[in-house]
Symmetry: C2
Subunit: 460 residues, 2 copies
């Protein structure tokens, strides 16, 4: 008899009702009575578990009663309507075999564990309800991103991880070397002949530059891959290794990229809500009250667009006392961002920041000292990610690189994109983990990355 | 007037026929006559270009005649049936504006350039026909992979790039450090307090181990992301940074994973052939004669499964003289692989290799000294990638780790997966670039990776 997966079962329960089926998966919980027992069973293909009911007419009843949580089993039985509460169907077990038992020292038991404890068990926490929900949502949201762009004719670009140029210029790059550090210490000198690339290189902080080269060939492209920052901040928002989605679009101005950004966010949320109802219900109940309402509000709202200057005006007129006084030419503090989203009761694109606040050399320079950029502020969390029209003028770009004292040699190819058929073009870099945090209500980035890399932590 | 994309135009040509449309893109070629001219135009959203026809009734006729290849333009005109050969439709230009001109020193001209030359212009070669075809196929094939797995209930797992464990144990890992190498040379000592992770770490060679942890929670998972090998080989098949697809499936044996592998390969080829007909026609004509037939043969064949022992028997009986004599207990040479695929006239899974040939400690050990693995051999190229059932027995796995003298501490969590509800499970690691080489006929891996990283080369 062939076995089926739980997701197939739950797609056509009525068809399986009264039929004998076989399943393979793990015991998530086990309640025992004298003459019968209940096993909460999952194979991980769907959030909803299945209740298995067995009784002492089974010849291995005694062994079954001893089965511990997380044991791998194979079970046959008839799918019946459940008389108990909490589920519509259950499986009346006719045969149950053990595949792999679970040692007594299994650290995760059916009780409340702290997130900190679970982080120490990253390889096992994936089996718990919370992480089953988070990582199924993460997978479905990933697919949503590909679906969105591919349906619209974008090319998926795999931009390089090893790089010689520092996109953000923030000097927070990890360094890659094939020299032995002990050897350097012993000999007292470095030796580039031992380097794979002839010199140490960095790990990319962004695929934007190579993405722009792609966009000048294919018009519409996106990246979706890991990027890296050696920022040693210990915060719930920072992580060394994170995935980014970076579209670059030729013949697209700032207004255009805001449209794309808004459409993408709504599409991903809607797509995932539709496909993971049980996951969102669980998170709504146990992780963030009001999560589903929050997400539906985003889908149904028209994102506001306000210039930086308009926002400062609003902040200056606000009847509340801020810790930091809002000033033209200064960055916005968290409290300011929060006020702005509450003021508009909507996600807000704050546009056209002063160049001296947003220093990225690649942003399109306007005549009034601002740049053609936007930060998307979401209610409740503030700034999520930024986008900009890119400087498409060779001379202006070169001047900016000189002003900032950057190493021009590294950027010549990038500058040349402005010499060989330049276009108005724009893009953004959306941090995927932060999007998943927003969508799941998880408050620490370490809990939406399966094996998070943070200062001092590179386990597994 | 809103502009449209060329892929939209080619989806409903009949609808646009006789209508006025606007397009934005680049000049790919330009033929000038005294009173008129032809521009071969593309916006990169589809392989097929559009012929623009203009004449001296346009007020900027003289400037248009001067436009160089790769200039970015905006064009308006009527879509008409073409009277010329080579295309069904063309655009009769009523207005043509220059967005960004192209400098005279643009290195790529409409003539045959060598692949070596184009590699030095990676950021520009994306605009040529060959690379338009290759990277559109790469993008569509990526989507095919996601579609295949997501339709079948797999979870997309983002496994970490930074790692402390070496999956293949081959010692070919890139090392990541946040210490300054000059500082080590100067002080004569390393200083782990300067390390982001408290010590140097490596870049992953495979997501398999973390993938197995995912599979023991979700049953069916896949990874699709970059992996790294510091193998300094200068060959057309080796590259430092490449993408891998690594499914891991619980309750799945070797037969099962071969089924999945065969289904995936056929699905990806079929999906991509259907969506990129012009690209494949071009490659079939200019890159590999017979490419389309080759791919259709794969789709329509049933992959053969033969044990290693059967293959050695076949090789020993072969009536040709091999350079290397086939022997039981020895690896297969390229000439042997070629003979086997020709013998079966089909892709072949060669199964159950001697453990002393396939040394990977994680492969399921059989009682007869073989391991439950398979290499997939494709006609014309030989070994493409391997798969195996994983050792699910804690004790056998531990013994193997000891035998190979590996550092057991690093693998305790991985071994524990066998202690906490172990299952028969299997997986494979498919190198994405090699698949794309096979699908496009490109003979050098540097030409299917946009910005290839090879010994001494980390440009862009």
């Amino acid at each position: 008899m062939d076995y089926i997966y739980l997701n197939d079962l739950y797609e056509k329960e009525e068809e399986y009702l009264g039929k004998k089926i076989k399943l393979k998966g793990w015991i998530r919980n086990h309640r025992k009575q004298k003459d019968f027992g209940f096993i909460y069973f999952s194979d991980g293909t769907v959030f909803k578990q299945l209740q298995l009911v067995y009784d002492n007419t089974l010849k291995n009843f005694d062994e079954i009663q001893k089965l511990r949580i997380s044991s791998a089993i194979e079970v046959e039985g008839e799918l019946i309507k459940s008389v108990g509460q909490g589920q519509d169907y259950e499986l009346k077990v006719s045969d149950l075999k053990l595949h792999g038992d679970c040692s007594e020292d299994y650290p995760i038991q059916p009780k409340k564990h702290s997130m900190e404890f679970l982080r120490e068990q990253s390889y096992l926490r994936l089996r718990t309800n919370t992480f089953q929900a988070v990582f199924r949502i993460r997978s479905v949201a990933s697919m949503a991103i590909h679906q969105f762009f591919q349906d619209r004719g974008y090319i998926y670009a795999h931009t390089p991880i090893f790089t010689s140029s520092d996109c953000e210029g923030a000097g927070e790059m990890f360094q890659v070397t094939t020299q032995k550090l002990e050897e350097i210490a012993k000999t007292g000198k470095t030796d580039n002949s031992k380097e794979y690339f002839g010199r140490p290189v960095g790990l990319t902080v962004s695929g934007q530059f190579e993405g722009e080269a792609f966009a000048q060939a294919f018009s519409k492209i996106y990246t979706f891959g890991p990027t890296f920052r050696a920022d040693p901040s210990h915060t719930p928002l920072h992580i060394a290794e994170f995935w980014q989605i970076e579209p670059e679009v030729a013949f697209c101005d700032l207004e255009g990229i805001m449209d794309i950004s808004e459409d993408l966010m709504k599409f991903v949320i809607k797509y995932t809500l539709e496909r993971c109802p049980s996951e969102f219900e669980f998170l709504n109940k146990y992780v963030e009250e009001g999560l589903i309402d929050k997400l539906n509000t985003v889908i149904n709202s028209k994102f506001v667009r306000a210039t930086y200057k308009e926002c400062i005006d609003i902040l200056k007129k606000a009847k509340i006392k801020f810790q930091f006084k809002p000033e033209y030419g200064e960055d916005l503090a968290k409290e300011h961002e929060r006020y702005i989203t509450e003021y508009f009761k909507s996600p807000v694109f704050i546009t056209y920041w002063p160049q001296k606040v947003k220093k990225c050399f690649y942003m399109k320079q306007m005549d009034d000292g601002t740049v053609a950029n936007a930060d998307l502020e979401m209610p409740g969390i503030g700034e999520t990610y930024g986008m900009s029209q890119r400087e498409d003028d060779f001379d202006k770009l070169e001047r900016r690189i000189d002003e900032l004292g950057m190493n021009k040699d590294e950027y010549i190819w990038y500058m040349n994109l402005r010499k060989y058929g330049t276009t108005v073009h724009s893009g953004f870099g959306m941090g995927f983990e932060r999007l998943i945090m927003y969508m799941t209500g998880m408050s620490n980035i370490r809990d939406v990355s399966a094996f998070p890399r943070t200062p001092g932590n590179c386990l597994y």
